[in-house]
């Protein structure tokens, strides 16, 4: 196995999936040193995508051309503003739902300092937008207006190593955006009432799903946190039903929403992915995702599903009085350990051999 900092060849396609346990980030090398970053994850004060690129001797400011924040949840925007500031030439993309007045109101309500703004994902979103606004006001030559993406929006179109690259948003659908606005309105708490945070596991309907077409050879499907719904107008049903999306089958799949049951769609695996697709799932330690049952479901879909780590219980030894009080005060209690760094699954392929070469680092592993 090559070291984590082994550089990518110019003609090589790479998908690196980072999963520090409370978030995820994906870096895609399209060729010729041109990278796309989807979401941002950090651990112990380190922004993983930035560190990965820097360890390979790359300048993020030069090589990252597109940054997509699939949605505003904490596990997807951790240190997003740092990533944006270090990749000042990159085009920033976020969900069209974030343009709504309802979203601005919850940002104003919940990024207020006394609501725990230091750890609020909305404060991170606000910081990222402040960064962009400052660049705009300063007439910074590198400023690019953000894309508020919805389904079928072409996010980028370029050529790398002679291959045409097309990046397209497959979601949110128009109905997803409307539903998100309704949800934002429900989150708003009257200003005279105390409120200290937003649900960290609220619905993910407005998440951006990204499709990356690299030449004629490879189609990548990055599922964000999009969930399956009962409506044909929303979630994965809307993506599958679309006739405007690329109709080829994807050779790589980032499993949505940490493999949770509410994001499982048989139709996605049957109609959008090649048989025995290479796939990656990131764990979410807080909710213990993916569970054993969810892992088995993923294994039934493909023998090449890899996880950045799996939930594992931690045996913390506390004072006996504390342990006893925990037992007496709770109905359920579990301690789960965050993975040791690094937790990365790396997929590489060249156009010559055509097969994915998969490497796992840290606690990342293939699901069995």
């Amino acid at each position: 196995m090559s070291p984590l900092n082994q550089t990518t060849a110019q003609d090589e396609i790479e998908v690196a999936v980072f999963g520090p346990g409370l978030g995820e980030a994906i870096l895609i090398h399209c060729g010729n040193g041109q990278w796309i970053c989807v979401d941002c994850a950090a651990d112990d004060g380190v922004c993983w995508p930035l560190q990965y690129l820097q360890q390979m001797g790359l300048d993020p400011n030069e090589c990252v051309r597109l940054i997509v924040a699939t949605h505003w949840h904490a596990d997807h925007v951790n240190r997003l503003s740092e990533l944006l500031s270090q990749c000042s030439r990159a085009q920033f993309v976020c969900s069209a739902a974030l343009r709504a007045d309802e979203f601005k109101q919850i940002v104003a309500r919940f990024s207020y300092k006394e609501t725990g703004a230091a750890r609020s994902p909305l404060a991170e979103v606000l910081k990222s937008f402040e960064l962009l606004a400052t660049k705009k006001r300063n007439r910074d030559a590198s400023y690019k207006a953000p894309i508020f993406a919805s389904a079928h929006h072409i996010l980028d179109n370029f050529t790398a190593h002679g291959r045409p690259i097309t990046v397209m948003a497959l979601s949110p659908s128009a109905q997803d955006v409307l539903n998100a606005l309704e949800a934002f309105a429900e989150y708003f708490v009257p200003i005279e009432q105390p409120v200290t945070g937003l649900s960290p596991i609220a619905q993910n309907h407005a998440s951006v799903v990204v499709s990356v077409q690299i030449g004629q050879e490879v189609l990548l499907l990055l599922g964000g946190d999009l969930q399956k719904t009962s409506s044909h107008l929303t979630g994965w049903n809307a993506v599958i039903a679309s006739t405007l999306r690329p109709q080829e089958l994807s050779a790589f799949f980032k499993v949505p929403h940490h493999g949770s049951t509410n994001a499982q769609s048989d139709d996605v695996w049957q109609r959008m992915l090649v048989p025995s697709v290479h796939a990656a799932v990131t764990q979410f330690v807080g909710s213990g995702l993916p569970t054993r049952q969810q892992q088995q479901w993923l294994c039934s879909k493909s023998p090449f599903v890899f996880a950045t780590g799996l939930p594992s219980n931690s045996n913390i030894r506390r004072r006996r009085e504390v342990e006893k009080t925990i037992r007496e005060s709770t109905r359920k209690f579990a301690s789960r350990r965050l993975p040791r760094r690094p937790a990365v699954v790396r997929f590489r392929k060249t156009s010559q051999d055509g097969a994915w070469r998969v490497e796992t680092f840290g606690e990342a592993r293939r699901l069995t």
């Binding site: 207020y112 929006h153 955006v177 005279e192 105390p194 200290t196």
Partner: protein, 207 residues
Amino acid sequence: MDAPETFNFAENEPEVQWANARRTVVLPMSKRAEAEQPLPGGTTQRGQQTGTAKQLSVHPLEMEPSGNFQQKWSTQRSHVPGKGQHVVPTAEERFWLLNRWQGQVLTVGSDSFEAQLFDPGQPAVIEYAEFAKSELPPDALMLLRPGAMFYWMIGYRDRGSRQRTRESVIWMRRTGRMDAAAFDAALGHVEDIWRAIESPQSNYSAG
């Protein structure tokens, strides 16, 4: 060694500060509880203990409500034959912290709620718990909603120098009220930023 610390359950939200140092407190030597009885109002009495001093280590806290830690000593005058009156410090009601978490509510059910917990002394671990709603006092129940943050503390409460109980205390954070002027200012700031980036060159697509 740091001074002994107590937690004062004031109505006001504590100031939150970062603290990295490991704390050492002096606690009386514990004895096995002889009686267990429930206490109303968000605490559960686990036992009663007395004894001599013993050193305990308390985990460092990431988000520490330091403003509520106070030494609460009163003075009592006593007469010592031949030496007249002198001042003897006696402890008033104090809470000796054994373990503390910062929690965030995930879901609220009919008679329980689920939360994820962060123990600042265990940075590589995330914990999950389901609590009965009866662990909360009535005014805290009104604050219970997904996303709400709270502190969970386990410790000993001394009432005077003769009674000690082991308690589990959930303290819902009470911040987040805004007056109209503060909200208008915050919203104005947000709208200014969005307006700046949503210029004619913005690439918004309606889908």
